[in-house]
Symmetry: C2
Subunit: 405 residues, 2 copies
């Protein structure tokens, strides 16, 4: 079926946007959320089904009465490609317009190997996934890429990425153009995760944060149901917020940045020190066996009751919470979602973050604040890449209004 | 002339909104900004003039060719009342829909005297202004109130306001209802100032902050061309952000809050200490003469070259800049406007804030960041109250879309 993208009416655009954000919505919910009468919503829905943009699935579980059917963005629209690059891994996926993951592959890769090595591998992986799903390149209508560094969203170029030597000024868009005609959208990894969570929570939560703790610390900001990127695209760059003016010197030149004192490498370093100083028999064993201590080793020691490991994890959570307390006073979000490789280092980590935020923020700001693990977890990156790709593709094609003002 | 508010077309709403945000706009600018063809914009404009909502003024200065005329919201729509309450003063004004101030009165008042005393005085002042301008109460179409405390915007009620004993739970709306049928909107003083600046800068600046430094420290946030109030209305409550974990204890219970260490009372206290310790001959003289040191005294001593006074002001600016560096890393605004009673304590203050922000923020965040005095200055509060009143009144009457989602 050929999809007709041109000349949508304002009512059709509203319905399309509502279904995008609320996959599996019933017709009555659709009318309610779009603010349209049932008949107006039904007319626009019929036109969109006719255009090949919406599908209606079979009856859903209902609270009673006539069983509602669910509206979804149609698979006829095409397929989204999601490429989520981390410091040391890549996730590649093909995703349907209703955000169903059709195929997904993850593997280790060193982002520092540079764009040539990394992206030629990504191209091969995408080809494999397409073959597996029997999807020609022409069916890919949008590509979303997440990268572990600062991005200028409009140009899609990386700006002085600290852990991505060789990527500055490199055009991922150009590189993919010989195989894919579809538009390519690039954002940093934590904005992409926030987009994934936003796609899922759009109706319920207008203002929340996704905080990723791994090798670095970053924050995705959702403000009035949009990803907020700031005036230069660097909003959410919280890793260099100072938590101790007399603290360790960071590679950025300042002292006491939360990233240098509390992220993965700090945890590993403190674990190594504890092992060498004889404060942790368990970590000393690991150090002897492996020659290095990883954050995961510290986490495992902590879960085994190791006192030194517990103290390291609590301190990390405390410092991150101290930084977030400042952010909470300023931004007053309803939810903070903790994500990233370090977030699951053990229950003490989240508890220490919470305690620190509640202690240092104003009561009014924390009255209804919830601090939780990110609900989409590992899937947030891939879903976020695909949701960003579809949203921006629809904007480029003029079937969604505006875009970030 | 009777204004017809009902059943505006979508094009009329867009034109009305565009003129609201760009008072004195020409017809060609209007077409450009609304995205309409000239003829569509002209048709909607004609309808709004016919409705009594728009006026067209005489020819404006032009760069050449046929001289454009300027479109304004019409005085026929009515008058806005602005009530800007401070800790120790009140500004009351009547403002036309194009934000021309028709009459303005300011006087000293103690907010702590409670709502009965303060608001009965405000009512009298408003009556005087109306008499002076020959405006009946029925001509007031909206009332905007700024208060020096946290407000729940939807209910208009103050939430645990620290310097406003007796105001918690008091309904300013109800109090004004016997004399005014128009809707009343209440927000905190710094959001109101931000609204004033936003009205003026709407087209040019989507993301900026207004920081008010006086007895306390607060911040108004403009995000995507809207006032951002957060999930509980407490966004921008930056006074209790920690700038020194080992610093002075604040009335909030924590240590080293920027407000207790850098706002007006801290400057006065440090000035008194300097005078008593013999570190400032000039302030010692003032203390002997007046028995107290005010922040203004410290400012005057600083302008006279007093070393101790200079150090006090520089420290205050440094600490406020340190807090703002954190906010800049998180929010990446394009502009920070410094306002409030302390902001003009001397050129060293702004210089110290700037230095501190540039030193502690990431280069990408500050690449285009400008830190300036608030352009509307003293008028921001009154203009902001009126702009908020008009915007919200138009929303309530259904002639502006949405509202804060």
């Amino acid at each position: 079926m050929t999809v007709r993208w041109d000349d949508l009416s304002p009512a059709e655009i509203t319905v399309l946007e509502t279904v995008f954000w609320s996959s599996g919505i019933s017709r009555s919910e659709l009318a309610e959320q779009s603010g349209f009468s049932r008949s107006k919503a039904n007319m626009a829905t019929a036109a969109l089904i006719e255009r090949g943009m919406l599908d209606e699935t079979g009856p859903q579980a209902s609270s009673g009465g006539r069983r509602p059917e669910a509206l979804l963005l149609s698979a006829s629209m095409g397929v989204l490609a999601a490429i989520d690059l981390g410091a040391s891994s890549v996730d590649v996926a093909l995703v349907a317009p209703d955000m169903t993951v059709l195929a997904h592959h993850t593997e280790a890769i060193e982002i520092a190997a540079g764009p040539g090595v990394v992206l030629s591998r990504v191209k091969n992986l995408l080809r494999d996934l397409r073959k597996r799903c029997n999807v020609r390149a022409e069916k890919v209508i949008g590509i979303g890429v997440g990268v572990p560094g600062p991005v200028e969203f409009d140009s899609g170029l990386l700006v002085a990425p600290p852990i991505m030597p060789g990527w500055e000024g490199f055009s991922i868009r150009e590189y993919l153009r010989d195989e894919y005609a579809s538009p390519v959208f690039i954002d940093n990894d934590v904005n992409v995760m926030a987009m994934g969570e936003l796609w899922r929570l759009h109706r319920k939560l207008p203002n929340f944060l996704v905080v990723k703790v791994g090798t670095g610390i970053g924050c995705g900001i959702v403000c009035n149901r949009m990803i907020y990127r700031g005036s230069n695209g660097s909003a959410g760059d919280v890793g260099h917020i100072c938590v101790d003016p007399a603290g360790e010197r960071c590679h950025c030149g300042n002292q006491g940045c939360v990233e240098i004192m509390a992220a993965g490498p700090a945890i590993a370093r403190q674990g190594t020190e504890a092992a060498k100083a004889g404060k942790s028999p368990q970590l000393a064993q690991v150090l002897t066996a492996n020659g290095v201590i990883t954050p995961e080793d510290v986490g495992q020691a902590s879960r085994g009751g190791d006192v030194a490991a517990n103290a390291i994890i609590k301190l990390s959570g405390k410092l991150i919470g101290q930084m977030l307390a400042t952010v909470v006073n300023f931004f007053n979000p309803s939810h903070i979602f903790i994500a990233g490789g370090i977030s699951h280092i053990g229950p003490m980590f989240l508890a220490a973050i919470r305690q620190s935020i509640y202690q240092r923020s104003l009561p009014l700001s924390t009255r209804h604040l919830e601090i939780l693990y990110a609900p989409l977890g590992d899937r947030a990156g891939v879903i976020g890449c695909a949701a960003m790709a579809l949203q921006e593709t629809m904007r480029v094609r003029g079937v969604l209004p505006g875009g970030q003002p």
